[in-house]
Amino acid sequence: MASATLSIIQALESAQLRKDLPEFRVGDTVAVHYKIVEGDKLRVQVFKGVVIKRHRAGLQSTFTVRKVSFNIGVERMFLQNSPRIEKLEVVSRGVVRRGRLYYLRDLTGKAARIQDEKDR
């Protein structure tokens, strides 16, 4: 009984999962093309930054992107399976040793850089 219940929910959720996004990890620099409705117009905004967190929870998965804009740190959380994400580009792959890069919040400038996978 319980498993049948679970599978109904799973079927509903798996139908909504987005499988078209490229694989990306914490530490990667990504550009998120996000659809925004302004009044009655639809436009696409690009948010480019470092992925500092991935919350892996099936349909409810999210990821957080951090960028520094005009010397102010901006973090934005995206729903991974949201249809509002038009496209996700992986700009570069980073090498990090943590799953959550919260330490970046305390660092600025050169110290806040992340080693590129190609430079290893």
């Binding site: 659809k35 349909l59 409810q60």
Partner: protein, 220 residues
């Protein structure tokens, strides 16, 4: 009285749904599998209703009287039976023995009332049951931290007022939530996705019917 058509259902659980514009709605999934077991008519019984049946009932759990009623209707024995008061024309439009599909009765965007039995929490104190504040933790409080305090005055009126909030059974009561919106109907699996929460635990029995305060809840 709510005379709008409805179904007996089983609460499957909660999930979320992305709408086309990208907004997310939390919703409860209800599975419904009902057939019409019988009818009540104005001429014979003094009111109009359909009797709905849901779930499986084993033969050994079926009394002979019930078995006879099911046989007369020409359907397999059902575990849950419920009368649904309805308008005469709805009763006339369904046949005994026929299955009631969710897409026959409900549509996305419709408002419904959902009745269910809330999760039982047993005998519970006032802090949990009625959200009392309790007493101060410190300053010498002795064995009086989660108590309810005074329950009334002395000689006048000389009794405790009716409806005084005190400890007791919490939950396991029939409760309804009104005016919940249907987000989606999945006819293939007989599922209804209702915006927000509904009473009861997973696998609990619920009754879904058109919203009484919105004239059945349909848009038209």
């Amino acid at each position: 009285m709510n005379q709008f058509p409805g179904v007996i259902g089983r609460k499957i659980g909660m999930t979320q749904l992305f709408l086309e514009d990208g907004s997310v709605v939390p919703c409860t999934v209800v599975e419904s599998n009902v057939i019409v077991v019988g009818k009540r008519t104005q001429e014979k019984d003094g009111y109009d209703a359909v009797i709905l049946g849901s779930g499986e009932r084993k033969e050994k759990h079926t009394s002979k009287a019930l078995a006879g009623a099911f046989k007369k209707a020409g359907v397999e024995p059902r575990r849950t039976l419920r009368e649904l008061r309805c308008q005469a024309d709805f009763a006339a439009s369904v046949e005994v023995g026929a299955a009631l599909k969710v897409d026959q009765l409900f549509e996305a965007g419709q408002f419904v009332d959902v009745q269910g039995t809330t999760k039982g929490r047993g005998f519970t104190g006032v802090m949990r049951r009625h959200h009392f504040a309790g007493n101060v933790r410190t300053h010498g409080t002795h064995e009086y931290r989660r108590h309810g305090g005074s329950i009334g005055t002395n000689m006048t009126p000389g009794r405790v007022k009716k409806g005084m909030k005190m400890p007791g059974q919490h939950g396991n009561k029939t409760r309804s939530v009104l005016n919940q919106k249907i987000v989606k109907v999945v006819p293939e699996q007989n599922l209804i996705l209702i915006h927000g929460g509904i009473p009861g635990a997973r696998n609990g029995l619920v009754f879904v019917r058109g919203a009484v305060k919105r004239h059945g809840g349909k848009a038209s």
